[in-house]
Each structure stands twice: as structure tokens, then as C-alpha cells.
């Protein structure tokens, strides 16, 4: 089974100003998308609905949290922080596939029913994102089980592999960084 779990204690790691930054960036990105739409039209404005402004803040905060946690343990946490941010980026790449599914479902449904478009789009995002994450996870576990395939993996993929938690890699970052 997948080890997906809800860990509300993680929220206590955040500082109050980090939540203010996220609120501010989210609000600014939404206002900016509206401004671009009204000035340059819906086609250009629509691009900015997928602007990675929030991701910049999230990845930086993840790196900061991991670095801080390692430093509190008396270690240099820069490397760990960078790896945790890279893992977040890998997840965001899969989430982008879901975002594409949201846009397709929304555009197909919005002119027939607005509530259905929001519900269908959100459901499409959830199903496609989770399925992409699950398939990637399974594929990496299978790949690790085959030494030849493992050997031909690129340096970057190998680094990300080491971050993933899996039964063949008990010392992985993800398992330790919970």
C-alpha cells in the first residue's frame, strides 16, 4: 500500500510570517492573472493561471525547514534541504499533468454547467495527479529491482531515486524526513 498520510504536526514547523508570505504571493498571483486578462485578453491571462509563483515560496520554505531541522541536530542541512526541494519539484511536475487535466475538463464542461465544471476539473486534477504519482512510484520500485536498468539511469534520476522511500532503500531521505 502507498504510505500517504496526514501529519498535522508538520504545520507547527511553520513560522507565522511564512503563512503571510504564502497568502501574499497567492493573492498577488490571482490579482496579477486578473490584471493580465483585463489588459491583454483572456488567452494571455489564462496562461498565468498556471504561474509557478506559489511553487517558488513552497520550495524555498521546504528547503529552509529541512536545513533548520538538520542544523538543530548539529549537522549541515544544506544538502538535505536542497534534496527535499528537488523532491517537491518532482511532485509538482506530476501535479502539472493534473493541472492540464483540470484545464481540459473545465473547458469541456464550463459552457454546459459551471458547478459541474469546477467539480469535474477538480476531480480530474486529483485523479490524474494521484495516478501519475502512483505510477511513477511503482515504476521506480520496479526499476530499482532490475540492476541493468538501474545502471543506465542518469545521475539526476539516481539522485531522485535516493530520495524516494521504498523497501529497497531504507536510508532514503524521504523516509527519514517525515
Amino acid at each position: 500500500m502507498t504510505p500517504i498520510r496526514f501529519s498535522p504536526s508538520s504545520l507547527r514547523e511553520g513560522r507565522w510570517y511564512e503563512y503571510v508570505i504564502r497568502f501574499g504571493l497567492g493573492g498577488a498571483a490571482t490579482a496579477f492573472a486578473g490584471l493580465v486578462s483585463s489588459r491583454y485578453g483572456a488567452s494571455i491571462g489564462g496562461l498565468f493561471l498556471a504561474l509557478p509563483a506559489i511553487f517558488c515560496a513552497s520550495a524555498t520554505l521546504i528547503e529552509t525547514h529541512e536545513t533548520r531541522r538538520k542544523r538543530e541536530a548539529g549537522l549541515d542541512g544544506k544538502h538535505r534541504g536542497r534534496k527535499a526541494a528537488a523532491l517537491d519539484a518532482a511532485g509538482a511536475a506530476l501535479g502539472a499533468v493534473g493541472l492540464l487535466a483540470f484545464a481540459v475538463a473545465f473547458s469541456l464542461l464550463v459552457e454546459s454547467s459551471v458547478p459541474l465544471a469546477f467539480a469535474g476539473g477538480s476531480l480530474a486534477w486529483l485523479i490524474v495527479s494521484v495516478a501519475a504519482w502512483y505510477v511513477r512510484r511503482k515504476w521506480r520500485l520496479v526499476r530499482r529491482a532490475h540492476p541493468v536498468q538501474k545502471a543506465i539511469g542518469s545521475r539526476c534520476r539516481g539522485a531522485i531515486d535516493r530520495l524516494e522511500c521504498g523497501p529497497s532503500n531504507p536510508r532514503s531521505t524521504e523516509r527519514r524526513v517525515q
Partner: protein
């Protein structure tokens, strides 16, 4: 002006809610999915429908597809910059914005995008 204040407040609230949900989920690669949650889209498309109607929102969602593809490319580039070039997260994410702009806006301009 009021319109943009409302956009700011709604966008900030929706983005914060999804960001907190992502923070509380494990493992990290799964939580990363929430880096591409359509939070800005949900807020903006809702306001677009209220102000301009469903046709306008449909047009926005069409070009959002290009933005989503660009976000996927952007995320992969960020990942490589962090692992290979060993950049800090802030530098990697900000530098890669150029990639997002080229992949999303570039084809639209080349095709003489209809606005």
C-alpha cells in the same frame, strides 16, 4: 480597485488553504503535487465567470493548458538545477521562471495568439 482587492483576498485564502494541506501530507513527493494545485485557477475562473460569463472562462482555460505544460517543464528544470547544479531553491525557482515564460508565452506569440 475593489475588484483586485477581492481577487487578492480570495486568491490568498485559496492558495494558503491548499499550501497548508500540502504541508501536512506525507511523503514529500506526494505533497509536491500540491505545488501544482489549481488554486489560482479556481479563484480566477470563479471571478471570470461572475464578471464575463462561461465563454470567457473557457477561453482562459484553453490557454491554461499551455501554462500547465510550461509548469511541468519548469518543475523538471527546477529539479535538475537543484540536483545537478546544486543551486539553492530560491535561485533555482526564480531562474526557471524564464523557462516557464518561454514555454508558455512563446508558442502563443509565434502563432499570433488570439486575445
Amino acid at each position: 480597485m475593489t475588484e483586485y482587492v477581492v481577487r487578492f483576498l480570495i486568491g490568498g485564502a485559496v492558495v494558503s488553504a491548499f499550501a497548508m494541506l500540502g504541508d501536512a501530507l506525507r511523503p514529500k513527493s506526494f505533497a509536491g503535487l500540491f505545488g501544482a494545485v489549481p488554486s489560482v485557477a479556481l479563484a480566477t475562473l470563479g471571478i471570470a465567470i461572475y464578471q464575463h460569463g462561461a465563454g470567457y472562462a473557457a477561453l482562459q482555460s484553453h490557454s491554461m493548458m499551455a501554462g500547465a505544460i510550461a509548469l511541468g517543464v519548469y518543475s523538471v528544470v527546477v529539479c535538475h538545477l537543484l540536483v545537478r547544479a546544486r543551486l539553492r531553491a530560491l535561485s533555482a525557482t526564480l531562474l526557471s521562471i524564464v523557462v516557464w515564460l518561454i514555454v508558455s508565452v512563446g508558442p502563443l506569440f509565434l502563432a499570433g495568439g488570439r486575445t
